[in-house]
């Protein structure tokens, strides 16, 4: 369980995180979404005790980071995959981490095997590809067998097989009852992996909900209609209060009227329908629309001169 309460953090005059409160519950994967520069990494660094909030608190299972006695065993994090001394081997990197929290050497070997790096464990980490570095970062997060895990963009640089591996790993970790908090700029990936969502823009909370509710509550149901009498159908639907737009290929996109009503209208008008399908907005579309609103909103605020 991660609980953030009214977190605020500024760098100079820039407010990176603004009065942010959310809870991340155990047992499911929680996605952390926001455009670049929205404060995701800053928030994660505050959870890990790296950056000090100006005000507000964030706790891990009820305690602040600095009050954890064995931090690596309670919370694991992958914040930057490439943040490793390039001249040190993967094994020694993990060993140095393990020693701080009395974790046995045998666990280091096991973790390396689990992430598929046992063959290159003695090689310099600087020679690793981004994908291998991500695997090493995931290994270091899992090293202490913690109940709370944070991953900042864990699938960056992974091949399709690696992405699938991470997706399954995150889900299985959540199924073991752990708290999993994952940021990603790939909204489609979050739709596949996450159950809960924390969405932020400009450091402020936009939504703290489930993926399904987030999509449902932020999109108007749209229906795609094809008919030889498209013009006529559009007029009738508009007259009935629906919004209709016409695509280049002649299909209609209708909002404000569901599929069954459109079908009834078409029958009443004697028009044959070639297609009638509800369009599910993707998480990505919803997200883009929401955050572009945020940007527009901020664009209207007066800008201080001479900043």
């Amino acid at each position: 369980m991660i609980a953030a309460s009214r977190l605020t953090k500024s760098y100079g005059t820039t407010r990176a995180v603004d009065d942010l409160s959310f809870d991340v519950r155990p047992g499911v994967v929680t996605g952390f979404l926001g455009p670049n520069g929205s404060g995701k990494s800053t928030t994660m660094r505050m959870v890990m005790g790296l950056d000090h909030p100006d005000s507000g608190t964030v706790t891990i299972d009820g305690r602040r980071f600095r009050d954890l006695r064995w931090p690596l065993r309670e919370v694991g994090a992958l914040l930057e995959a490439k943040a490793i001394h390039p001249g040190r081997s993967a094994y020694n990197h993990l060993l140095a981490m393990a020693q701080t929290n009395s974790i046995p050497k045998s666990r280091v070997d096991e973790i390396l095997g689990m992430v598929g790096l046992d063959g290159v464990a003695r090689r310099k980490a600087g020679k690793f590809s981004l994908g291998m570095s991500q695997r090493l970062g995931i290994a270091s997060a899992l090293l202490g067998d913690p109940g709370v895990l944070l991953f900042d963009e864990p699938i960056n640089g992974l091949d399709p097989e690696g992405i699938l591996w991470v997706r399954n790993l995150l889900k299985s970790l959540a199924n073991e009852g752990r708290t999993i908090f994952v940021s990603s700029h790939l909204m489609s990936e979050m739709a596949l992996t996450a159950t809960d969502l924390v969405v932020i823009g400009r450091g402020q909370l936009i939504a703290d909900t489930t993926v399904d509710d987030f999509i449902a509550s932020n999109t108007e149901a749209t229906v795609l209609v094809r008919s030889l009498g498209a013009e006529r159908l559009a007029d009738v639907l508009r007259a009935g209060g629906a919004q209709v737009s016409k695509r280049e290929d002649g299909a209609l996109l209708v909002t404000g009227a569901d599929a069954s009503r459109i079908g009834d209208v078409a029958l009443a008008e004697g028009l044959a329908l070639h297609e009638l399908s509800p369009v599910q907005a993707s998480l990505e579309e919803v997200f883009m629309e929401l955050t572009s609103d945020m940007v527009d909103f901020h664009g209207h605020t007066p800008v201080e001169v001479g900043a």
Partner: protein, 298 residues
């Protein structure tokens, strides 16, 4: 695929916390697992022995042509410790790199996110760097001393009697060498290693404060090389009162055999005072490093 596949038992921890002993183990793993550490330590040892042999050989070769004044400043101990002029920069680099490499690679954020007390990281790093450099610096200092005296002996040097005065040296017809039993020799050689230890700790603390490799090393080299140059352009009355406080001159004061008066030794502190002052410099830098480490964002 899942962590359930991991069978290695994790020790159950009922009391205490991650603690200093664990952090020291980790810092030692980090220090020994990069090549730059070993290169620096080998350079310290090889430069110490090599320069001792070279300089002792050159000085011994010139003895016959030296006038009374030069013979009076002939210091067999100091010749043997010439390597420390190079080593002071090498241990500075090693001390600074121990922390700035973590900032350069970003791994400092891993280090600080697996320990709840940041001050433990600073303490552990200084302990590990300190012990390693102290051992290597002392071994090098004493080995260099032995090599230097052996080279002088090969040139037909005679042992300088304990507590020998300048006068005996001026009138001596043979090259002098000293044993560790001679006045001040043991202290000078031992403090030669202590000087390197204190500089390494100072450089490490500067690294914690500046957090950039190039910046920290520039600051460290500036203190040793540039500061003395700045002092020399001050009016001589001002310069004389400042000169003896420079870390490089404290080092000189610690390693000179002061039973033998040289022109320069007149303005230096006694070895004990010089050591205490350099310890105070290092301690002040460490205190600042600790204060900043706990307060700054990583």
């Amino acid at each position: 695929m899942t962590t359930a596949a991991l069978t290695s038992p994790m020790p159950v921890l009922d009391s205490g916390d991650a603690g200093l002993a664990n952090q020291v183990r980790s810092e030692w793993t980090k220090l020994r697992s990069v090549r730059s550490t070993w290169i620096c330590l080998i350079v310290v040892f090889v430069a110490g022995i090599g320069l001792s042999a070279l300089v002792s050989n050159i000085e011994a070769g010139q003895w016959a042509g030296l006038g009374p004044v030069d013979r009076a400043s002939f210091d067999p101990v100091r010749f043997s410790q010439t390597g420390s002029f190079l080593s002071q920069f090498v241990v500075g680099v090693l001390g600074a790199l121990a922390i700035t490499s973590e900032y350069a690679t970003g791994s400092i954020r891993t280090t600080l996110s697996i320990t709840s007390k940041r001050s433990t990281v600073l303490t552990a790093k200084l302990l590990v760097i300190g012990v390693v450099i102290f051992v290597v610096a002392e071994v090098t200092a004493f080995a260099s001393f032995v090599v230097g005296q052996a080279v002088l002996l090969a040139h037909g040097a005679k042992a300088l009697p304990a507590g020998a005065s300048v006068l005996t040296l001026v009138h001596s017809s043979t090259i002098p060498y000293v044993s560790l039993a001679a006045g001040g020799a043991l202290r000078a050689v031992f403090l030669s290693g202590v000087y390197l230890l204190l500089l390494a700790l100072l450089a490490c603390a500067i690294g914690f404060v500046i957090r950039h490799t190039a910046g920290a090393i520039a600051a460290f080299v500036g203190i040793l090389l540039v500061l003395p140059l700045i002092v020399t352009v001050l009016p001589s009355s001002v310069a004389q009162s400042f000169e003896k406080y420079l870390p490089s001159n404290l080092g000189l004061a610690m390693t000179l055999v002061t039973t033998r008066k040289t022109d320069f030794a007149g303005v230096l502190f006694p070895p004990g005072t010089a050591t205490v002052l350099l310890v105070a410099y290092a301690a002040a830098a460490v205190a600042l490093a600790g204060w900043l480490l706990v307060r700054r964002d990583a």
